[in-house]
């Protein structure tokens, strides 16, 4: 938890603030099926942001990045659902998933009002912060606590993908300065 709190201090992201707020309830104490639900929710939120970017932005680099987010997060979610089906399990909704979703609604409302470079910069910066925050959560709170070996393996594969996204987002932020 300490590392997650430090991240909040560094990034100042509202999303993470509310994650910890909800998790006096500790994210490290979620079970595998709750963790799977959080990851699935986080993937879908990023897909939603990407669709918004495709609708509002006219910047080809933003479009390219957004299409990659849709493609990759959809692929990871398909893998996750296939694994849960194989394990005959269903993801369990929980307070962290609910907080993520509530924050995303607020952020979508805010981004929907932006246009041009203001939108592009906000989207790119948010993507960088979002991936940093979620990657930190996955690396430090989820992976060490997942019990099922196959679920853990999928999360490790997912983390590699999302670190590449984080790097891509950082390049995008740099290019928009």
């Amino acid at each position: 938890m300490m590392k997650i709190r430090n991240l909040i201090a560094i990034t100042g992201i509202a999303l993470m603030a509310s994650i910890t707020g909800a998790q006096a309830n500790d994210p490290a104490k979620l079970n595998d099926l709750q963790i799977a639900h959080v990851a699935y929710t986080a993937d879908n939120i990023d897909i939603r942001y990407a669709h918004l970017a495709l609708a509002i932005s006219t910047n080809p680099k933003i479009h390219e990045f957004a299409r990659t987010m849709i493609r990759d997060h959809t692929a990871v979610n398909e893998q996750a659902l296939a694994l849960l089906k194989k394990l005959k399990a269903n993801p369990q909704d929980n307070i962290l998933s609910k907080q993520l979703t509530a924050n995303s609604h607020k952020l979508v409302d805010k981004m929907s009002k932006l246009r041009g470079k203001a939108f592009d910069r906000f989207y790119a910066k948010n993507e960088l912060g979002y991936h940093k925050a979620v990657n930190n959560l996955v690396a430090n709170a989820f992976i060490p606590n997942i019990e099922n070996a196959e679920v853990k393996s999928l999360f490790k594969a997912g983390l590699k993908i999302f670190k590449v996204h984080e790097h891509h987002a950082a390049m995008m932020v740099k290019g928009l300065k």
């Binding site: 493609r71 590699k160 590449v164």
Partner: protein, 120 residues
């Protein structure tokens, strides 16, 4: 005695055939030596890395990329002159090496993924 005349065209034809029969057996190995058979190379894409990062090839060889990740990738020349197209998980994409093939390539979806082809 009746004289048999052979049309000039046939004489030339036999001469060419005889020359070819004598010369070709010696020529073929030489030709084969000059144009060695093409090779099929494999580049694996795994954990967002092209492996090998540098592939030595010669003109006429074929390069096949295999995507072993769980998300789609591409192998695309930096100047966009060649492209495997979208490679879904476990898909393969093949390109034949040409003389002026652009060496550096990347994944269009994940631009930090880079590698190169070394045409000998």
């Amino acid at each position: 005695m009746r004289r048999i005349t052979i049309p000039r065209r046939e004489v030339v034809g036999w001469a060419v055939a005889a020359f070819a029969a004598a010369v070709i057996p010696f020529t073929i190995p030489v030709v084969a030596k000059m144009t060695p058979p093409s090779t099929n190379h494999i580049v694996e894409i795994q954990n967002f890395v092209f492996s090998p990062a540098t592939l030595k090839v010669k003109v006429g060889d074929r390069i096949t990329w295999i995507n072993k990740d769980i998300v789609p990738h591409t192998a695309t020349a930096h100047d966009k002159s060649w492209d495997t197209g979208n490679l879904k998980p476990n898909d393969r994409g093949t390109v034949t090496v040409t003389k002026d093939m652009f060496a550096g390539y990347f994944c269009r979806f994940h631009p930090s993924m880079k590698a190169k082809i070394d045409v000998q």
